[in-house]
Amino acid sequence: MISFSQVTKRYPGGHDALSGVTFSVEQGELVFLTGHSGAGKSTLLKLIAAIERPTSGVVSVSGQNIGRLSRRAVPYLRRNIGLVFQDHKLLFDRSVIDNVVLPLDIAGFDRRESLKRARAVIDKVGLLSREKANPVSLSGGEQQRVCIARALVSRPALLLADEPTGNLDAGYAADIMAMFRDFHQVGTTLLIATHDERAISALGGRTLHLDHGSIEEAAA
C-alpha cells in the first residue's frame, strides 16, 4: 500500500527532516509511528498525502509515485486517504454535519445520500446529538472525533493520523484509540503518528521509530 525507498526530504535552509528512509506498509496493517517531536513524523505523513514532495527517493502509495504525481492528480489521491490532524482543522462557519459532509460534496455525491452517510459516521463517533452544533462549542476530544468522522466519511482505504490524541486527556485518548482499533478491524490501513505509549501497548500492531530523520523498526 505504502512504500518508501531511500526517501530524503530536505527543507529550504538545509535541514533534513528525513534521510534515507525505507519501509513499507501492507494493506490492512495498523502501524504506529513514534519519535520525539521534530523527528520527521509529520513530514513522513505529508509525503504520503502529497502535501510535500520528496527531495530524493521514491514514495509510492497504491502503486502511484507521489514525487511524479501531477498537480491535477493530487486531489484524486487525497480522496482515497483520510487525514486526521492534531489541530482538527475544522471549519467554524458551519455545523458538525456540514464539516463531515464536505469530502462528499467535493467528490460530487448526491446531497441527500451524502447527508445520510455523514450522519451514519457521526453516529459511529458518538456525536449524533451534536450534529447541528457548531464545532466551536465542542470540547477538544469531540472536535477530534468530528475530524475523524470527516476523514472516514468517504470510506478511504488508508487513514493517516498525526498526533490524534496529542491534545487530549487520557480518557478521551483511549476512546479515540478504541475507535481506530475498530476501523482496523474492518480492513482500513492505519498509520498513526503518536508518542502515546499506552495506546500503542493497548492496541498492539507494528511500530516504526523515527530518530533524527532515520527510521528503525521497533520490536513488536
Partner: protein
C-alpha cells in the same frame, strides 16, 4: 455529468449565500460597477438618439444635377443616356414645376413660394451613383457638372457625411470609454473577490487537504464574480433609467420648440440583455484572474 451539475448548483448556492452574508459590501461593489458602466451607457444612448435625428435626413448620398434653362433637346438626350450607364444606381428626373410644388409643400416656405411670380427653379436630375465612396461621388459629380447643358452638379451628401463622421468619432469614443470602464470593472470585481478568497483561506486549505480540485475551489468565486457583475449591470441600468427620467422632460421641451415630436428612446431589451451579459462576463473574468492569483498566495503561506 450529474456530478458536474451538482457541483455547479452547489457553487451557485454558495456564491448566493456569500453575497447575502455581506449585503453592504455587495451593494457598494454593485454601485461602483454600476456608475462605471453607466458613463459609456449614457454616451451610447445619447449617440443613438442623435443618430435617429440624423437618420430622418437622406442617408443615401445623392448628386443633384441642375440643368441649364437654355438646354437643347439633343443635350437633354445625351445627359439621359449618360445617366443610364452602369456606374449610376438610380436617376430621377425632377421637372421644375414638381420642384416648385415640393418647395411650396415644405414647412415654412409656403409664404416664399406664394410670392413668386414665375418659377425660378431649373429642371434637375437626382442621381444616386452605384459606388458611394467619397472619391467616387466627387468624381461622378465633377464629370456630370462638365456635361454640356448642365448648370451645376451638387453633392448633397457633404454635410450628412460630416455629421456621420462626427457620429463615428462619438461611437469610437463609446468603445474607448467602454473598454476603459470594462478594465475598471474587472479590477473592481477582482478586488472584491480577492478579499473573499483571503477571508476563506481556512476553508480553501482544508478543502485542498481533503481532495478538492482547483476547479472546485475556484467555482464558487467565479459565480460570485459573475453575480456581482450582474448586480453591477443592474445598477448601471438603474442609473440610466434615473438619468433618462431626469432628461426626458427638458429634451422633449427643446424638441417641441423646434416643431419636432422627437422623444428619448430607452435602451431595447436586447441592449439591456447585452449589458447584463457583458458585466457578468467581466465580473467572471475579474474573479478568475483574482482567484487564480490569490490561490497561489494562499498556498504559498500555508
Amino acid at each position: 455529468m450529474i456530478g458536474w451539475l451538482r457541483h455547479q448548483k452547489h457553487a451557485l448556492t454558495a456564491a448566493l449565500n456569500r453575497l447575502r452574508a455581506h449585503p453592504v459590501s455587495t451593494l457598494l461593489t454593485a454601485l461602483a460597477m454600476g456608475v462605471a458602466i453607466s458613463l459609456p451607457g449614457v454616451l451610447y444612448l445619447g449617440l443613438n438618439n442623435l443618430s435617429r435625428v440624423a437618420g430622418d435626413l437622406p442617408a443615401q448620398p445623392e448628386i443633384s444635377v441642375f440643368l441649364d434653362t437654355r438646354i437643347s433637346d439633343a443635350q437633354q438626350l445625351a445627359i439621359a443616356a449618360r445617366l443610364k450607364q452602369p456606374d449610376i444606381a438610380a436617376a430621377r428626373f425632377v421637372p421644375r414645376d414638381e420642384a416648385l410644388a415640393a418647395l411650396s409643400a415644405s414647412q415654412g416656405l409656403t409664404d416664399i413660394s406664394a410670392g413668386l411670380t414665375q418659377n425660378p427653379l431649373p429642371d434637375a436630375w437626382v442621381v444616386r451613383p452605384r459606388d458611394t465612396s467619397r472619391e467616387a461621388l466627387a468624381r461622378v459629380a465633377d464629370e456630370l457638372g462638365k456635361l454640356p447643358g448642365v448648370a451645376e452638379a451638387h453633392l448633397d451628401s457633404l454635410w450628412a457625411d460630416r455629421l456621420q463622421a462626427a457620429l463615428a468619432i462619438g461611437r469610437a469614443g463609446v468603445w474607448l470609454l467602454s473598454s476603459l470602464f470594462a478594465i475598471a470593472l474587472v479590477a473592481i470585481s477582482g478586488n472584491a473577490i480577492r478579499a473573499q478568497v483571503l477571508a476563506r483561506r481556512d476553508e480553501i486549505l482544508v478543502s485542498r487537504l481533503i481532495g478538492a480540485t482547483d476547479r472546485y475551489i475556484r467555482r464558487p468565486f467565479l459565480y460570485l464574480g459573475a453575480l456581482q457583475g450582474l448586480l453591477g449591470g443592474l445598477a448601471a441600468i438603474g442609473v440610466l433609467a434615473i438619468a433618462g427620467g431626469i432628461l426626458r422632460a427638458p429634451v422633449e421641451r427643446l424638441a417641441t420648440l423646434y416643431g419636432s415630436t422627437f422623444h428619448l428612446l430607452p435602451p431595447t431589451a436586447i441592449e439591456i440583455a447585452a449589458v447584463l451579459a457583458f458585466t457578468a462576463a467581466l465580473g467572471w473574468l475579474g474573479a478568475w484572474l483574482s482567484v487564480t492569483r490569490s490561490l497561489h498566495q494562499v498556498e504559498a503561506t500555508r
